[in-house]
């Protein structure tokens, strides 16, 4: 009998709570981070987004985050726990969380899941991504004009499509202004490893590179560049504080508009991922044109280079398709002829080569 009363009381409280939630209770929103916000890189950018969400929605939302969540079964547990704790929308901020998110999304049909940089969607799981490669095209233009040795050193993390897109976009931009320059790639096999990134940067410099670019998350590369008197590009966040003389500019990931748009859609009931099996409307992939990618001010470069960079950025914002012909891969095969161009699907499925100007082969 006591149990029955308890259950009834709980039920009553639950009903009242739900009614209250419909009126005033803050909506709980969860974030799952791969590293911690102190990385001043990838996760930091997400944290900035989360803080913007709090600022924008005020007391209407209550956010939580879990950091240093390894990809794999542990993340399934963490996502599930966030769902159980009452979060109504959960952002999972790394590719490796894709299948775990899908799994948990099946178990909690009333919770909305937003997975970043992946490709699977479902009825309650959408995908968001940034066209990081657009920033790299502009980086390539600047690198091509600034390099005196015609050698650029690239620090790459893992050979996944996003990284390959970045390398190729960079090379295309670079060759568009300097057909003699080359890009050399070192795979660090980690997203965040300051020691290894520093070593790789030193090796690039020793091999003659005078411009460095990275698709890894720590400022170590730029600091090494600063010490050695060469230049480089920051990644994910503005790294000028770490390398005031070396940073040419940084591609900053701006997740705030995406987060805010998703939460607003949830609050006013218009959130949708479309119809299966593809759930295409559940996919957002924007870049410079919508301020998802923001380039920090161009510094440490002569005015004509800054002007060229701005022109390139404007061109891309205005709709220029970076991956349009003609170009070849670095073995000489023609990939796209004049007039042809890639659509989004090609960028994920077909880019298993380096374009002309990049040295070596993609590992694996």
């Amino acid at each position: 009998m006591k149990h029955l009363l308890k259950a009834a009381a709980a039920g009553l409280v639950g009903v009242v709570a739900m009614a209250g939630a419909a009126i005033a209770d803050p909506v709980k929103i969860g974030f799952v981070y791969l590293t911690n916000p102190g990385d001043h890189g990838w996760t930091y950018a997400h944290e900035v987004g989360r803080l913007d969400v709090e600022k924008h929605f005020g007391s209407k939302v209550e956010t939580t985050y879990v950091e240093n969540v390894p990809e794999g079964p542990d993340s399934t547990r963490v996502i599930r726990e966030l769902a159980r704790q009452g979060n109504k929308m959960i952002f999972t901020t790394s590719f490796g969380y894709m299948d775990p998110t899908l799994k948990v999304a099946k178990e909690f049909p009333d919770v909305k899941f937003v997975h970043l940089t992946g490709y699977k969607r479902s009825g309650n799981m959408s995908t968001g991504n940034i066209r990081f490669y657009e920033g790299r095209y502009v980086q390539g233009v600047v690198a091509g004009m600034m390099t005196k040795s015609n050698k650029v050193g690239y620090l790459a993390s893992f050979p996944i499509p996003e990284v390959i897109q970045g390398i190729n976009a960079f090379a295309l931009g670079m060759r568009s202004v300097n057909p003699d320059a080359t890009v050399s790639v070192i795979w660090v096999n980690s997203w965040y490893d300051p020691v290894k990134e520093s070593d790789a940067a030193k090796v690039h410099i020793a091999e003659g590179a005078d411009i460095l670019a990275q698709h890894t998350d720590s400022p170590a590369m730029l600091q090494t560049a600063e010490k050695a008197g060469v230049y480089g590009f920051g990644q994910s966040s503005d790294m000028k504080a770490f390398a005031p003389k070396a940073q040419l500019f940084s591609s900053v990931n701006n997740w705030s508009p995406y987060y805010i748009a998703q939460i607003e859609a949830m609050l006013d009931g218009s959130w949708t991922t479309g119809e299966g099996p593809d759930h295409w409307p559940g996919n957002t992939w924007l870049g410079l044109s919508d301020d998802y990618l923001v380039l920090t001010p161009f510094e440490n470069m002569p005015a004509n280079v800054a002007a060229a960079a701005k022109a390139a950025a404007d061109k891309v914002s205005g709709g220029y398709n970076i991956f349009s012909g003609p170009f070849k891969d670095n073995a000489g095969n023609v990939i796209l002829s004049d007039g042809e161009s890639y659509h989004d699907g090609n960028l994920w499925n077909d880019m298993n080569y380096y374009v002309e100007g990049v040295i070596g082969k993609i590992p694996g």
Binding site: G96, N189, P363
Partner: protein
């Protein structure tokens, strides 16, 4: 100065009390460290050890987390009892997962009756072979098995990374480093009891782990093989006189522990991931070493020890969500626990006294 004098017999109460005291001391020291770093100690301990199992479905999570630890530790017990220090379980796990995965990916159409046993056998083979490297190097060249098995964990991690990014990468995965998903026959399913339904995330691998622990206990306690292992560890010279071959024992215990680790790797992938990824182990191989010691190298106790350590792991997540503590704090607990257990061993075997230092040089008497 701490002086130790051997006890003649080890009182039973002491043997049982030691792990309890060790755990208690770990909590106390942990609480002190938390307080020093600005966290509320009571809250932290609650999040660590109570919150993770405060709901019934979370208990299933506990067993699922403990599953690989129990399997690996059951095997490690054989090696450590024989004084063979297999530190490479992490790498052996990876090789087991790869070998098992090879079956699943190369023969996706096998029926369940063939697929699962084949994967189990191959998983064990993978771990076994990887452990044979330090085994053979030790028996033939007297190379230290600690360093070899450890270096091989790094090699194994790089090997699976290359394999999943290269030859075994799913052509449908848009270039992401994932193997194709395993066929249903290759997955370890959740336990379903008619009348009870699914028990949370509990899967058959957990049942297997419990069976393995019991079997390991039986072999160690009641068979000649087990006797050989124990003798070679405790009294190697006596063992040699009795005709036991030390090289054979070394190979055998490394083989057993390697096979167990390999099996754990295959189970983890089949039960929790359903496909190969660049990272399939999250330190289980090293954590299992602590489990083995917490269990005082007794396979039956490995079950309990595995659950306790798994609790601390889950607690790390919980403490993070609730208190913002960094994930690595579990390492602090695990390290302290191991220290306390090792010291506890000493208390078991010796009378421990604090004395004024006695100079070893005998004073020359005046007479």
């Amino acid at each position: 100065m701490i002086t130790l004098s051997p006890r003649k017999t080890i009182p039973l109460q002491l043997t049982l009390l030691t792990p309890v005291v060790a755990i208690a001391l770990t909590l106390v020291i942990g609480a002190i460290i938390f307080a020093t770093l600005g966290y509320h100690p009571g809250e932290a301990l609650y999040q660590f050890f109570v919150a993770p199992i405060s709901r019934p479905d979370q208990v299933a999570d506990l067993f699922v987390k403990a599953c690989p630890l129990i399997i690996i530790a059951s095997g490690l017990v054989f090696a450590y009892r024989a004084n063979v220090w297999n530190i490479g379980a992490e790498g052996q796990m990876i090789l087991g997962a790869m070998f098992g995965g090879w079956v699943a990916l190369t023969f996706p159409d096998l029926s369940g009756w063939v697929m699962m046993p084949a994967m189990i056998a191959m998983g064990m083979l993978g771990g076994f072979l990887w452990a044979m490297i330090p085994a053979i190097l030790k028996t033939r060249f007297n190379t230290n098995e600690i360093l070899v098995s450890l270096m091989l964990t790094y090699v194994a991690a790089l090997l699976i990374d290359w394999t999943v990014r290269g030859p075994w990468r799913d052509p449908m995965s848009f270039g992401f480093p994932l193997s194709p998903m395993y066929a249903d026959a290759a997955l370890i399913t959740r336990v379903y009891l008619p009348g009870f339904g699914h028990l949370g995330g509990l899967h058959w691998g957990v049942i297997g782990a419990l069976v393995i622990a019991v079997a390991a206990w039986f072999v160690l306690a009641r068979t000649l093989t087990g006797f050989q292992v124990k003798v070679m560890g405790d009294a190697p010279r006596a063992g040699r006189f009795a005709g036991f071959n030390p090289s054979l024992v070394t190979i055998m215990v490394l083989g057993i522990s390697g096979a167990a680790a390999g099996l754990a790797g295959m189970v983890e992938v089949s039960a929790n991931m359903g496909q190969l990824q660049p990272e399939i182990s999250f330190g289980y191989g090293f954590t299992a070493i602590i489990v083995a010691f917490l269990a005082r190298l007794n396979p039956l106790a490995v079950i309990g020890a595995g659950l306790i350590v798994a609790l601390a792991e889950l607690g790390g997540d919980s403490a993070q969500i609730a208190l913002g503590m960094p994930k690595v704090v579990t390492g602090v607990f695990k390290g302290i626990l191991l220290f306390m257990l090792l010291a506890g061993e000493t208390f078991n075997r010796f009378h421990v006294r604090l004395k004024m230092p006695v100079t070893a040089v005998r004073e020359v008497s005046d007479a």
